[in-house]
Amino acid sequence: MIDSIPALMVVLPLMAGVITVFTGKGDKPWAWATAITGIVFAMSIALLAEVTAHGPVTYNFGNWPSQYGIAYTIDAMNGFVLFVVSLIAAVTTYYSRLSVKDEIPNDRLHIFYALWLLTICGLLGITITGDTFNVYVLLEISSLTLYALIAMGYRRDRRALTASLRYVILGSVGASFLLLGIGYLMMITGTLNMVDMHDRLQVLIHNDEYSRTIMVAYAFLLVGLSLKLALFPLHMWLPNAYTYAPSAVTGLVAATATKVAVYMTIRFLFGIFGRDFSFGAVESSDVLLTCAGLGVLYTGIQAARQNNVKSVLAWSSLGQIGYIVIGFSLNNENGLTGSVVHILNHALIKGGMFLALGCVAYRLGGTRLTHLKGLGRKMPWTMAAFTAGGLGLIGFPLTGGFIGKWYIGLGALDAGNWLILVVIMLGSLLAVIYVFRVVYAIYFGEAEPDSVHATEAPASMVVCTWILIGMSLVCGLWSEWSVDLAANAAKAMLAGFGGAH
C-alpha cells in the first residue's frame, strides 16, 4: 500500500469529496471530511519521510511510461509543500465545524464539504503532479471550487460576490495564460511530462532553436503564475476575496492556494526551464525582485490603512508572498531555502491568524477593527494566538516568521543585493505598524457595545488556532528540522529536475 500513497494523496480526497454528497445533514459531512484530511496528512508525512530517506518517487498512472501517460514525481521540494498543504487542510477542516455551520445554510453543508475536499484535492494534485497539462486541470478544480466557496461569504457580506467574480475573471485569465504557455512549450517539445519537457528544452536552449517561442512561453507562464500567486501588480483579486470569504475558507485559502502557486512557479523556473535559462538567458531576476520589493512596501502601507482586520491580514499576505518571491528570485541556495521555509511558516502563521479571526467572527459576526477593541480580556486565548501570530508576521526573533526572513536576508547578502535587505527591513517596520495597530486595539481599546457580551470562542476552534500558531512558534524555536527539509528542497531544485542530474 505504501507504493500507492502518491496516487491516494489525490484520489482519496477526490473520491471522499464525491462521497460527501451522500453523507446527509448535520455533522456527518464534517466528520467525514476531517477523517479524510487526517488520513491524507498522515500519508503526506509518510511520503515526506520516504522522499527524504530514499530520494524522488515516481508513480505512473495506468502503468504507462511517464512520457506517454501521466506520472507523479515527488522530490524533496513538493514532498515538503504537500506536507504543508495537508497539514493546513487537516487543521482547518477540524476547525471548520461550528464556523461553517454559522455561515453556510445548513441544508447545504454536505455540498460545502464536497467542494472543500475537492479544493484540497486540487491543491494537492497541483503540487504532486509531474505533468504540465495535469497542472492546468487540477488548477481549475481547485479554483472553480474556491470561487464557489468564496462567493458563499455573501450571506454575511455581499461584497464576497464581486470579490469572487473578480477572482473568476482574473484567475481564469491567469490559468489561460498558463495554458497558452504550456501550448507553446508542447508545440516545440512535443511532450507534456515535466521531466521530458525539461530534457528537451535544455537541448533546444543549448542549440538556440525556437528561442523566441521559448521566450514567449516563459513570459506567459510567468505572468499566469504571477496572477495565481498574486504578485504585486497582479494582486487585485486577492484582498477582497480573502476578506469576504467565509472564515474557514479564508483560513484554508490564505494558507495554501498562493503557496501552491509559488511552488508551481519555482517548479517551472528551476525545474522545467532550468535556472540557467530563467536567471541567465532572460533577466527575470530583476523584474521579479522589483515587483516583489515594491509589493512588500505597497501592501504594507495598504495593510496599515484597512479597517477590517481580515483585510489587514489579506494585504499582509501579499507582502509575505513578496518575501517568498524575493527569496527564490535571488537564485541562490540561502534565498531559496528561505522561500521554502517561509512557505511553511507563513502558512502556519497566516492560517492561525485567520482562524483566530474566524473565532471573532463566530462570536461577534464581524471582524472590523471596532469589533476587536477590548477583546483581549473577553477572548484571551484567541487574542493571545492572534498576537503571537502577529509577532511572527513581523519576523520577531524566535518566531517562525523570523527564520524565513533570516535566510532570505542571507540570500540577499550572498547575492550582494543591499537594496533587498533594506526592503525587508522596511517591510518588517510596516508590519510592526499594522500588527500593533490591531494589537493595541485588542488590549487597550475600549470595548464597543457590540462586543460587551463576547465570551471566549468554543474550545475546538481555539485549540485548532493554537495548533497552527503553536507550530509556528515551535518552528521558530527549533528550526533545524524545517530548515533542513527546506534546504534539501532548495538543493534539489537548484540541481535541476528532481535532483537526478
Binding site: 454528497v21 502503468n63 512520457q67 514567449v216 513570459a219 463576547a454 542530474h501
Partner: protein, 285 residues
Amino acid sequence: MLNLLVIDGVLLFLVTITALAVIEMRNLFAVTMLTGVYSLLMAAVWTNMHAVDVAFTEAAVGAGISTILILGTLVHVGVKERRREKSLNLSALLIVTLTGGALIYGTLDMPAFGDPEAPVQTHRFQKLFDQNVGKVPVTDTHHVEAVAHGAEQHGGEQHGAHEDEFHGHVYNTVTSLLADYRSFDTMFETAVILSAGLSMIMLLRRRSDEEIEAATQRTERVDPDTIKTERMDPKTTQTVRVDSPPGSDSSGADKKLAAEIAEAVDSAEQIQHDAPEETDKGDQV
C-alpha cells in the same frame, strides 16, 4: 490542399467577424445568439481541421448548453447592456495589442502550420498513435532512481517496458488517449464538471424543501438570515443562535425582530453614509 485552406480561411474570417460582433453588440440576447453562431463556426473550423471529437463537443457545449445557460441568466439580469464606457477603451487596447504582439512574436519561430517535421508530430507521437506504448511492469513503478532520466538513456523507452499487443484495438485514437493513456486527466475533467454542478447548487438553490414548505405556511416571510447575521444586537444574535436554528420557527417574534433589525441596519447604513471614511477601503478595481 488549396480548397481546404480556402474553406479554412473563409471560416476563420467569419469566426473573427462574429467574435467582434459578440464583443460590440449591446443587446445581450443578440450576443447570446451570436455566441451560438460563433461556436458552430468554430465547430466547422475544427471539423475542417479533422478534430472531429472537439468539433462535436464544441457544437454540443458551445451552441447548446452555453446558450441555454446564458439565456437562463438573461432571464434574471435583463438583456440590455448600458452604455457607460467609451466606444474604445484605449488602455485595454494597449494591453491587448502588447499581449497579442508578444504571442505573434512567439509564433515566428514555430514550426510552420501543418509541418510534418514539427516536434509535436515526431516526438512520442507515433507510439501513442499506434497504441503500442507498452506498460511498465508494476514492480518497477516505484523504483526511485533512473525513471526520471532513464528515458533518453534507454533509447526512449523506460527500461523494463514491455511491448504492448494492444495494437489497434481502438479505432478512435482520441478516445484511447482520453480514456486510457491520459485517463487520469479525464477523471479530473469529470470532477471539474461535478464541481461546477455542485457550485451551482450551492450558489443558486434558494431554499431547501423543508424551508419552502415552512415558508408557504407563514403569512409573511421573514428571511432567516436577517436574524442570524444581524450585528447590532449581540444578545439576540446569541440567543437566536442557541435556541432556534434558522427556518425552524415561525412566530410573531420573528417579525418583530426583523422589523427591529431592519431599523437597526437602516441606522447603521445612515451612519456609514455620513462618514464614508469609516467604510472599508478594500481595493476596488
